[in-house]
C-alpha cells in the first residue's frame, strides 16, 4: 500500500473527524465568547466594531479642525500651521478632506489637497499644513481622520450593571430563591422515595405510576389555578401573595415528581441485605433512612441537586408568575428580560448582565459535570 492509499484509508477520515469536531466546538463556543469579550470592552467600541475585532483595535472616523489662520507662522517662503490634533492613545492611519473619504490619504505623507495647500498628518496626530501664500479666515480647516483605537478592556460595564442596573440586587434575589428551592425538595423527595422503595403499604404501585405521569405535566396547567389560589390566600390572610415562601413551595412541588422518580430508582437499587439487617437489629425506618440510606444515596442526591439548582436558577416563568415583576423582586433571569426591553441597544449592559447571570450555573456545571451527566442518564424522561 503506498502513502496516498494509506492517507485515503486512514489519514483523511481521521483528519476530517478532527476538523469537523473543531468546527463544531468553535461554533458552540463562539456565541458565549461573543458576550464575554463584549462585556469586557469599552462601551464606545462595542457599537462601532464587531467583538471579533476587539483584540486588533477598532477603526473610527473622527472630524477635527486644524488651527486657524491666527496660528500660522512664516516658514521660508511659505506659511505653515502646525500642531497636534489629540493627546495620544490613538493612531491616525489615514485622513481626508471630505466626510465620505476619511481614508483618502495615508498618514505620514505630505499630500496636495488642492488650492496649493499641502497637509501632512502623522500617526500620533501632529500635523503640518502648508501653503505658499498666507492662510485666511478665522476658522480652521475641517479634516476627517481614520483613527485606530487600541483595544480597550474594562470592568466598568460590570460595575455599572451590578450597582446601577439592579443586577447585584437580582443576584441576591436569585440566591434567596434558589438555595432553599434546591434543598427543601431533596429532603421531602428523599423521604417519599424511601417510602416508595422500601416500605410496604397499599397503593404503592399506583402512587409510583402517578409520580411518573406527573413528571411530564406541563407547568402551564398549574399556573392559572395556582395564581388564583395565591391571590385568595393573600387576600384572606391579608399578606402579600408574592413571597419567597410561595415560590419555594412552587419550585419544590414542580421539581418533586422528577426528584421522587430519580431518588426512588436509586434507593430501590441499594443492597437489600444492608437495610434488612438494620431492621433486624431493631433500627426504625427513620433511623435507617437517616443513617444508612441518605449517606449511600449521595450520588443521586447530588445529581438531583444540580438539576434542581440549574432549573430554578434559570427559570423565568415561575419567577414571573409567583414572585412578580416589580423591580426589587426580580431574579436574574427576570432582570435580564427587563433590561432587554429597556436597554435593548445597550450591549455593554446586556452582555455584562447576561454574563453575570450565567456565571454561577457555568461554575456549577464545570465543577460538578460528572454528577450532572449521571443524573441525566438516570432520569431522561423529564422535559424541564
Amino acid at each position: 500500500m503506498n502513502i496516498a492509499q494509506s492517507i485515503r484509508r486512514t489519514g483523511f477520515p481521521r483528519l476530517f473527524v478532527h476538523a469537523a469536531v473543531l468546527v463544531i466546538a468553535i461554533l458552540w463556543l463562539l456565541p458565549t465568547l461573543g458576550i464575554l469579550v463584549s462585556s469586557l470592552r469599552d462601551k464606545d467600541q462595542i457599537t462601532v466594531s464587531g467583538w471579533w475585532t476587539a483584540f486588533s483595535g477598532s477603526a473610527q472616523t473622527e472630524a477635527v479642525r486644524l488651527g486657524d489662520a491666527s496660528s500660522q507662522k512664516q516658514d521660508g517662503t511659505g506659511f505653515v500651521i502646525a500642531g497636534s490634533l489629540f493627546d495620544g492613545g490613538k493612531t491616525v492611519t489615514g485622513f481626508g478632506t471630505r466626510v465620505q473619504e476619511p481614508n483618502a490619504y495615508p498618514a505620514g505623507e505630505a499630500v496636495d489637497i488642492g488650492n496649493g495647500e499641502t497637509l501632512k498628518i502623522l500617526g500620533d496626530g501632529t500635523y503640518e499644513y502648508r501653503k505658499a501664500t498666507s492662510f485666511e479666515g478665522d476658522r480652521g480647516k475641517r479634516v476627517y481622520l481614520t483613527v485606530m483605537t487600541p483595544p480597550a478592556f474594562t470592568l466598568d460595564n460590570y460595575r455599572t450593571v451590578v450597582n446601577a442596573e439592579g443586577i447585584g440586587k437580582a443576584f441576591i434575589n436569585s440566591l434567596t430563591v434558589t438555595i432553599p428551592a434546591t434543598i427543601i425538595p431533596i429532603l421531602i423527595a428523599a423521604f417519599a422515595a424511601y417510602a416508595l422503595a422500601w416500605m410496604e403499604f397499599p397503593g404503592r404501585a399506583i402512587l409510583i405510576a402517578v409520580v411518573v405521569g406527573l413528571i411530564v405535566v406541563p407547568l402551564q396547567m398549574s399556573l392559572i389555578p395556582l395564581l388564583k389560589m395565591y391571590n385568595q390566600i393573600g387576600m384572606f390572610f391579608g399578606v402579600p401573595s408574592k413571597t419567597y415562601a410561595g415560590i419555594w413551595l412552587a419550585h419544590t412541588a414542580f421539581g418533586m415528581p422528577l426528584a421522587i422518580y430519580l431518588l426512588r430508582n436509586y434507593i430501590a437499587g441499594l443492597p437489600k441485605e444492608i437495610i434488612e439487617s438494620a431492621r433486624v437489629d431493631g433500627a426504625t425506618d427513620f433511623e435507617i433512612f437517616i443513617k444508612i440510606v441518605l449517606p449511600l444515596s449521595f450520588p443521586a442526591l447530588a445529581s438531583f441537586a444540580i438539576f434542581q439548582f440549574l432549573w430554578v436558577w434559570n427559570d423565568l416563568l415561575i419567577a414571573m408568575v409567583f414572585l412578580g415583576t416589580a423591580k426589587d423582586q426580580l431574579v436574574l433571569t427576570g432582570a435580564l428580560n427587563a433590561l432587554l426591553g429597556s436597554r435593548g441597544g445597550n450591549w455593554e449592559i446586556l452582555t455584562a448582565s447576561a454574563f453575570i447571570t450565567i456565571l454561577v450555573p457555568l461554575f456549577v456545571f464545570f465543577a460538578l459535570q460528572r454528577y450532572l451527566v449521571r443524573g441525566l442518564l438516570a432520569g431522561s424522561v423529564k422535559g424541564g
Binding site: 417510602a195 406527573l214 440549574l310 423565568l316
Partner: protein, 336 residues
Amino acid sequence: MAGQIVSAVGIMIAGVFACAAYYWLSDRLLNMALPVRGRDIVTASRNLNRRSVIRPWLFLGPALLLLAIYLVYPVIATLILSFYDRAGTTFVGLDNYRWALFDREFRQSIFNNVLWLAVVPAACTFLGLVIAVLTDRIWWGNIAKSIVFMPMAISFVGASVIWKFIYEYRGTGTQIGLLNAVVTFFGGDPQVWIALPFWNNFALMVILIWIQTGFAMVILSAALRGIPEETIEAAVIDGANGWQIFWKIMVPQIWGTIAVVWTTITILVLKVFDIVLTMTNGQWDTMVLANLMFDWMFRGGGDSGRAAVIALVIMAAVTPIMVWNIRQANRENGGH
C-alpha cells in the same frame, strides 16, 4: 444589600429547618403515641404494626400534599376553568374552544409549535448523535463534548441575549452582529433576522438546538458506549464501511435511547416560552402556545377561560408521552 443577605440566609435556614423538624417531630410523635417499651407483648406488637402502617404516610405526606396542591388539583381546575368565562365565574360551555378554533393568533401558535416540533427534536437528536460518534474517536473528544454540553447550564434568557447579539442588525455602519457581519462579508444584505416572518422562527429554534444538542449528545454517547464491541467488529470483518456501520449496526441498537431523547426534547419544545418571550414576545408571527397562554393570563386583566384552553392543548400533546412513560415504568417495576 447586606441586610437582605442576612435576612435571606435567615429565611433559608428557617425554611430548611422547619422542613427537617417536621420529619423528626412526626416520627417522635408517632413513637410516643404508639409506645412499645414497657407494654405487654400484645399491645406492643399491635402498636408496632400500627406504626408501620402509619409511618409510610408520614414520610410521603409532604410530598403527596405538594403534588396534590400544585399538580393534581390544578390539572382538574384548569379543565373546569376552560368551560368558564374570563373571570372564571360564568359557565360558557364550549365558547372558549370555539374561540380557539377560529382565532388567528391561536392558529399561528399551533402552526409555529408544529414547526418547532418538526425541527428542534430532530435537529438536536441528529446533531447530538453525530457529535457523539465523532468525539468518541479523538483524544480531545471530552473537551469538545464539554463545550457542546455547556449551554445546558445557561438559562434560556441568557441564551436569548447571547443570540440576540449574534442576530443584531445595524441600519448603517459596521455590523456588530456576527451573522450580519458574515452576510455582508460575503456581499449579502444585512437582515433584521428576528423580524423576518416565518424564517425568524428558525432563528429562535437555533437557540434551543444550541442548548439541547449537548443533552442529546451525552445520552446518546452513553448509549453508543453500551453497544457490544463484537457487533461492530463482526461488521468490520464483513467489510462494512464507516457509514454502513453507523446506520446499520449502531443506530438500530440504540433506537430506544433515541426515542427517549426525542420525546424528552419534544416535551421541552411544547413548553418553550422564555426564548420567544425574550426574543420577540410573539411579534412578527413567532407566537407559540406557551406564550399565547401567558399572554391571555394577563391580557386585559386576564382571561382564565381562554388561557386554560391553551394550557389544555399543551397538556393533550404531552399525554401520549405520559402514558408511554407510565407503561414503561410499570414494566420495569413488574418484578416488585
